[in-house]
C-alpha cells in the first residue's frame, strides 16, 4: 500500500488519476487531496477516495468545504499555507497536478517529504528547472514525468543507458491551427483555440497547445528531465498524437511509445513504475487509425516554440520570464482582451524588456524565481 497526495485533484489530470486509483484501490492509500476552486467536487472526491485530508486553495471556499465534509473524519485546510502543509506530509508519492505557476511552491516543498513526485505541473521545470532538479537530487526524491510526452520518453528509455541516447523526438499535434496561414491566424477566435483536435484538457493548456507554447514548455521540461543538450531535442509534428514521443539511440534505432489519448496511462506509469499497472482503458486500434504522419514544425507561425529554445539557450530565469509572460497573455486571451497572435508577441516583448532591465539572472533560491516571475508579470501586463 503506497500513500499518495494528489495536488490539483479537481483538474483534468487530477480527475484522470482518480480513474486510475479507482482501478487500483488495493495498491494506494490516498492521504491529502487539494483543489483550487471547485469545492463541491473536492469534497465529493475526498469521500470517494477515502482521503485523510482535503485542502481548498481558495480560502473563501473553506466554510463550504467544512460544511460539505462535516460528519466525516476527513481533515480540512485551505489557502497557500494549507497547500504547503499538505506538501509537508510524508508520503510515498505526490502527484503534482496543479495548473500553472501556482503549483511551483507546494510541489517544490513536496520534494523534501515525498519519495516520488509524479510531475504533471510542468511549470516547476519550465519556470524553475535547475532549482527544481537540484532540490530533488538533494532530497533523493524521484521525479517521474506525467506529461504524456515525457512519460513516453521515460518509457522508451527503460532498460537502456542514458549515454546511448542520441536524440529525443518530441512529438507535437501541431494544435488546431497547424495548417493555418499567417493571415488566417490573425483572426483566430477564443472558441476555435479552445478546441484541441486530439486531447481533452484544461483551458490554459489547450491554448498553449494552439500556440505551441505547450510544446515549447515540454521542450524545456525534456531538457531538464533528461541528460541531453538542446540540439538533441527535435520537435516532430505528428498530428494524430498517437506516438507520444520517441528516443533515438546511438545505433540509429528509435524506440517509440504509442497510445490512445488517455492521460491515465502516463499517470499510472508514473505512480506504478517500475511496474505497469493493469488498466482497463480503451486500447489503441491501429487499424482504425490507419495512418501516422510527420512534418516539421513552422517556428515562424508558431513563434512560442522558438522563444522556448531561446529561453533554454539563455539559461537562468529566461524561461521563468517566458512562462510568466505566457500565463499573463493566455489569461488575457481567455478574457478576450488580446488576439491569439498577441500571446507570442507579448512573450517575446516581455523577454526583451526583461533583458534590458537585467531581470534575467541565475536563480539561487525559489525567492529569486518568485521575484523574477512577479516582475515579468508586471512587464507583460503593460503590453496590452
Amino acid at each position: 500500500m503506497k500513500t499518495i497526495n494528489i495536488f490539483g485533484v479537481t483538474g483534468s489530470v487530477g480527475l484522470s488519476s482518480v480513474k486510475v486509483l479507482k482501478q487500483h484501490q488495493d495498491k494506494f492509500s490516498v492521504n491529502a487531496i487539494t483543489g483550487g476552486n471547485n469545492v463541491e467536487l473536492l469534497a465529493k472526491l475526498a469521500v470517494e477516495l477515502n482521503a485523510k485530508y482535503a485542502v481548498i486553495a481558495n480560502e473563501t471556499k473553506f466554510e463550504t468545504l467544512k460544511s460539505l465534509l462535516s460528519g466525516t473524519d476527513i481533515k480540512i485546510d485551505c489557502g497557500k499555507g494549507g497547500l504547503l502543509r499538505a506538501a509537508e506530509q510524508e508520503v510515498d508519492i505526490c502527484l503534482a497536478a496543479i495548473v500553472g505557476y501556482a503549483g511551483l511552491k507546494p510541489t517544490m516543498r513536496s520534494l523534501k517529504y515525498a519519495k516520488r513526485v509524479a510531475l504533471a505541473n510542468k511549470e516547476c521545470l519550465v519556470a524553475a528547472g535547475e532549482l527544481f532538479i537540484a532540490e530533488a537530487k538533494k532530497h533523493g526524491c524521484e521525479i517521474l514525468p506525467v506529461d504524456s510526452e515525457h512519460s513516453a520518453m521515460f518509457q522508451c528509455l527503460q532498460g537502456s543507458q542514458n549515454k546511448q541516447m542520441e536524440k529525443i523526438l518530441l512529438t507535437a499535434s501541431g494544435g488546431p491551427f497547424r495548417r493555418y496561414t499567417m493571415d488566417e491566424m490573425r483572426h483566430i477566435t477564443l472558441k476555435q483555440a479552445l478546441k484541441h483536435p486530439n486531447w481533452n484538457m484544461g483551458a490554459k493548456i489547450t491554448i498553449d497547445s494552439a500556440t505551441m507554447m505547450n510544446k515549447g514548455n515540454e521542450l524545456i521540461e525534456a531538457f531538464y528531465l533528461f541528460p541531453v543538450s538542446l540540439e538533441q531535442i527535435e520537435v516532430v509534428v505528428h498530428k494524430q498524437s498517437i506516438i507520444h514521443s520517441m528516443i533515438q539511440y546511438c545505433d540509429g534505432s528509435i524506440i517509440a511509445q504509442l497510445g490512445a489519448p488517455e492521460m491515465g496511462t502516463a499517470i499510472a506509469y508514473a505512480i506504478g513504475w517500475p511496474n505497469r499497472l493493469e488498466l482497463d482503458f480503451k486500447r489503441l486500434d491501429l487499424f482504425e487509425i490507419a495512418e501516422l504522419s510527420f512534418e516539421k514544425p513552422d517556428e515562424k507561425r508558431f513563434k512560442c516554440l522558438s522563444l522556448s529554445k531561446y529561453a533554454v539557450k539563455q539559461g537562468g530565469t529566461c524561461a521563468t520570464v517566458l512562462n510568466a509572460a505566457n500565463e499573463v497573455a493566455v489569461d488575457a486571451f481567455l478574457k478576450n482582451k488580446i488576439s491569439f497572435l498577441n500571446i507570442a508577441d507579448i512573450c517575446e516583448e516581455t523577454i526583451n524588456k526583461a533583458q534590458s532591465k537585467n531581470i534575467i539572472v541565475n536563480a539561487s533560491e525559489l525567492n529569486d524565481i518568485c521575484e523574477v516571475d512577479t516582475m515579468a508579470r508586471q512587464i507583460a501586463m503593460t503590453l496590452f
Copy 2:
C-alpha cells in the same frame, strides 16, 4: 574482446554483420566463418576479418578454398561435418545466419558451445522450435533474435516484465503483392516476386515475403521466443517497414521500435546487448517518410499466414512439415517449375497428406525433426 562465429557469412545477414564488425573491431574477435557456395567471398572475408577458421559447406569447393587461403594462418574445413566442427568451438557469440533448414543442425549444436546465439536462421524455431528452446535452456545459452521484427520485440521488452506484455504486434510489409487481387496473383512472375518493396534480402526470404510465409514463420518464431499464446500475436500490415514490431502492455501502452531498413541494427543489438553499439548507418528521417500506415492482413489471399497459425495450433512437427514443404515449393518456384500461388497450395496439401500419414508427431530429438522434414519434402515433391 568477445569471440564470435559467423555461420553463413556470405549471405545477406552475414554481409551485414561484417559491416557491423568492421565498425567495432576492438570489441569482437572473429573465430570461425562459414559459407555455403561462394568460396571466393568466403576467402576474402576470412582475410578481412582476420578469422581463425573458414568453412565452406559445399565440399566440391574445398580445394579452391585451400588455394585461395594458402599462405595464411587461417585453418580451413568443409562440408556438413566442417560446419558441426565449427559449431563445437567455444565462443562468446555464434551469429547463426545460414539460410533455411540447412542451418538447423550446426546452429543446434552451437547452443552447447556458444554463450549466446544471435539467431537469424529462423528455421531453427520454425522447424524445431520446442526442441531448440529446450536445448538452449539446457545449456544456458542465450538466444537473441536477429530478425528485425523479433529484435524490435526484444528491444521493446527491455526494462519490462514479460508478464506485463498483453500482445505482440508483428508488423509486415505485406510484400509486393499486398494490393493484388486474387486474379492478378495468378499471373505473378518470378521477377516480380523477387522485387521486395523495402528490404534487400536473399532470394528465398524475398519469395517468403511475397507469399507472407515469412511473416508466418516470424509468427512461429515469436511464439517460441516470447511467453505468449498464439492469440497474443497480431500481424499488422505496415507497408513502409519502418516500425519493425511493437509490444502492447497491460496498461494499453504500446512500445515500438523503428528504424531504417538496415539489418545491421538488429545484428548489432543481438551481439552487443545489453549495450547498444554505436553505428554510423544512415539515420531514419521521419520527415522524409512522412507517413506510416496500418492495415489488416488478408489471410485468404495470403494463405501461408493462416497455415502458420494452423501449424502453431497443431503443435508437434506440423511447423516442420510446413517449413519443409515451403522450402521445396519456393525452390520449385525459383526454378520456374510452379506458379506463385502453387507455393501455398503445396504447403497446405503437404500438411494434409502428412496428417493422413500420421507424420505429425511430438519430436523428442533432432532426428525426429529430420525424419519428418525428409518425409515432408518427399510429399511436397510429388505435388508438382
